[in-house]
Amino acid sequence: MSQAPEALRTEVRAWLQNNIPRDWRAAMTGTDQDAFVRAQREWFGKLVKAGYATPHWPEGWPGGGRSLAEQKIIYEEVARADAPRLILFFVALYHAACTLIEWGTDEQKRAHLPGILDGKLWCQGFSEPNAGSDLAAVRTRAELRGDRYVINGQKIWSTLAQHADYCLLLVRTDTAGPPQAGLTYLLLDMRSKGVSVRPIAQITGDDEFSEIFLDDVEVPVSDRVGGEGQGWAVAQSTLASERGLTLVELSHRMRYALNRITGLMRARGVAGDAALRRDLGRLAPKVDAACALADQYLLKRIENTEAPGDASIVKLHYARTLRDFTALGLRIAGLQGQYREPFIRGGGMETGNWPFDFMNSYNWTIAGGSDEIQRNIIAERMLGMPREPKDWRL
């Protein structure tokens, strides 16, 4: 499936030009989730058919076998074309597929990978109300009874779980010993008895996250990924599955979105305001730096020279820059920006609905390891500063 980079770029660019749903932003403005899901499914179908949904899958699968460099080109072009993000399918295409490819039995792969291409939806069941950034604190309990695990507990921050067919579920099978060692990784059919899902009303008005309640839910042992107690290691694979690519896409999207700020300045008649121009002139190189960091990080992954902490720097810088970006838009928007307007579902991080975008940016400073966690990692793993002693408690 290897191809000259520029040829691939040209091909993807042309395809996107012809296939991006016309006026998708307008269509997704103020829409409900069902319409959004339909639109995502349609877009997904096109991408799968073109082979652009699965460049990261192994050779042999449709579209698969692309190098990271090629995947990067696809993402850059998707960003450049301002195509819809495929967020509904993200967990299925990356988290689920990569985990299955790396850890799944042949049977599990056969059972699930083709389904993903057919549009089966997955969600992630890692976070819990009392274990935000700390997976070792997972408390959802799974007891082995015969050939099934019986599960009780609660998961939270599961993206679009209300639409999912399956869930990547991290559970505790052992409470003795080191906390990481007691985790086990299961594939949960969301139609199972005892599963209930409650979308979380977010401060942005969106409801893309859900809580999952698990009440005596049964999962066959055959749906376990890896061995009992191996959940921590399997979960690391899940989390690593898209390392770098998402931030290439998002940072490049942010660069293109600088024209939303300049457009806003013009529309508000403040394009000549020296103070705002200075703010913009400070922001733009920061955005460029976010792109550069993401690109170089991916290069390190390609060259296998990634060092501990590298990923934290990319994420931290992106998150802070996105905050600055949306905060600047919010302040330029003035009183007009304070009036509530319908948001664009799945419209990305810079939709031009500035209060929405500003609040939405907290997803990047909080979720997936908060800024504070990233700072700990950078200080300890890159700068070699000591960790607090383990036994340091009140």
Binding site: S127, A201, Q202, Q338, P355, M359, Y362
Partner: protein, 341 residues
């Protein structure tokens, strides 16, 4: 703060705390009326509490603390205008039961000598519940009350992200005013406009200081309770230092507000008062926004849910920033120091 005022303030705090954060306007507005909170700045000779602008700000701060949805600020602006004009009929009416609203940003409208009103007033709270609106002409040469139930006025509710305020755009299509409701004309109108801008800015500063104080208290409380990695978050020094910085910033805003109110004293319609109000507003609302932004970050995921109160503070803080004359305050402060650019 004198003893009488601090007692009044404490009881208001209790009453509002009992209603809970962001209690709806139809519960809190009657309280404000019943408990005489609108009379705090009215001179004693006119049946008020004689606590002046500083007294009013103590109450504006309580509104901020509790994210109160009652349209206390516009009502107080109307009262300020009635006091200035010596309209005891309106002082009584406003203090007892009536509600007159007022725009929280400078309106862009004209009022002719004959009292014909044309143009637009934005950010007018709870206009659907008011009998009248207090308007100043853009030229500053007329301040008048205008009845809202008449032809030629188009009121449009503009939903804000901040749900603790209900703002309206009012469009006036050559509406005939009532000459008996003109409160000031000519130079006197300029003076009254300044007085109203001063009250508005100090009130927004107080709202911000009160809101920021509650936001930080709730954040610290959360950090003390919430555990991660086996420890309460409040034990992590990086978070402690951020809270300390916020505390210092709030304290500075409070100090500036209190000090500025002392400097203003009773000269509420002076140019100096207006300049002090701008500086206090500018400093306080950015502190509020900073605290609210950190509140959300320090609460983590739970702060992102609509169920938790974080976003109410954030949204109110962001709106406060845009009320009054918004970001131009800093340039105005520079004007005071450097002369107009």
């Amino acid at each position: 703060m004198n003893a009488e005022l601090s007692e009044l303030r404490d009881s208001a705090r209790q009453v509002l705390a009992a209603e809970g954060l962001a209690a709806p306007e139809d519960k809190t507005w009657p309280l404000a009326l019943d408990l005489g909170w609108l009379l705090v700045a009215v001179p004693e000779a006119q049946g008020g509490l004689g606590q002046g602008l500083a007294g009013a700000c103590a109450f504006h701060a309580e509104m901020g603390r509790s994210l109160c949805a009652a349209p206390y600020l516009p009502a107080m602006l109307a009262m300020e205008a009635a006091i200035h004009a010596g309209r005891e009929d309106w002082i009584e009416r406003l203090g007892a039961s009536g509600f007159v609203t007022a725009p929280l940003v400078d309106p862009t409208l004209t009022i002719t000598d004959g009292g014909i009103v044309a143009g637009m007033a934005s950010a007018v709270p709870s206009a659907d519940r008011a009998s009248h609106v207090l308007l100043g002409s853009e030229a500053g040469d007329c301040v008048a009350l205008v009845a809202l139930q008449q032809a030629g006025i188009d009121a449009r509710h503009r939903e804000t992200w901040d749900t603790t305020r209900r703002l309206f755009d009012l469009r006036f299509d050559n509406v005939a005013g009532d000459p008996s409701l003109v409160l000031a004309r000519g130079n006197d109108a300029h003076v009254l406009s300044r007085r109203l801008a001063t009250h508005r800015d100090f009130a927004l500063a107080a709202d911000a200081v009160g809101g920021a104080a509650t936001a930080l208290e709730m954040t610290v409380e959360y950090l003390k309770t919430r555990r991660q990695f086996g420890r309460p978050l409040a034990l992590f020094q990086a978070l402690k230092h951020r809270c300390a910085d916020l505390k210092a910033r709030i304290a500075a805003a409070e100090a500036l507000l209190a000090d500025s109110l002392v400097r203003v004293g009773t000269e509420v319609d002076s140019e100096r008062a207006e300049a002090l109000g701008k500086a206090a507003k500018s400093f306080a609302v950015s502190a509020y926004a900073a605290v609210a932004e950190e509140m959300l970050q320090l609460h983590g995921g739970i702060g992102m849910t609509a169920e938790h109160a974080c976003h109410l503070f954030l949204k109110r803080a962001l709106l406060d920033e845009q009320l009054g004359r918004c970001t131009s305050y800093e340039l105005d402060v520079a004007d005071t120091l450097l002369g107009a650019g």
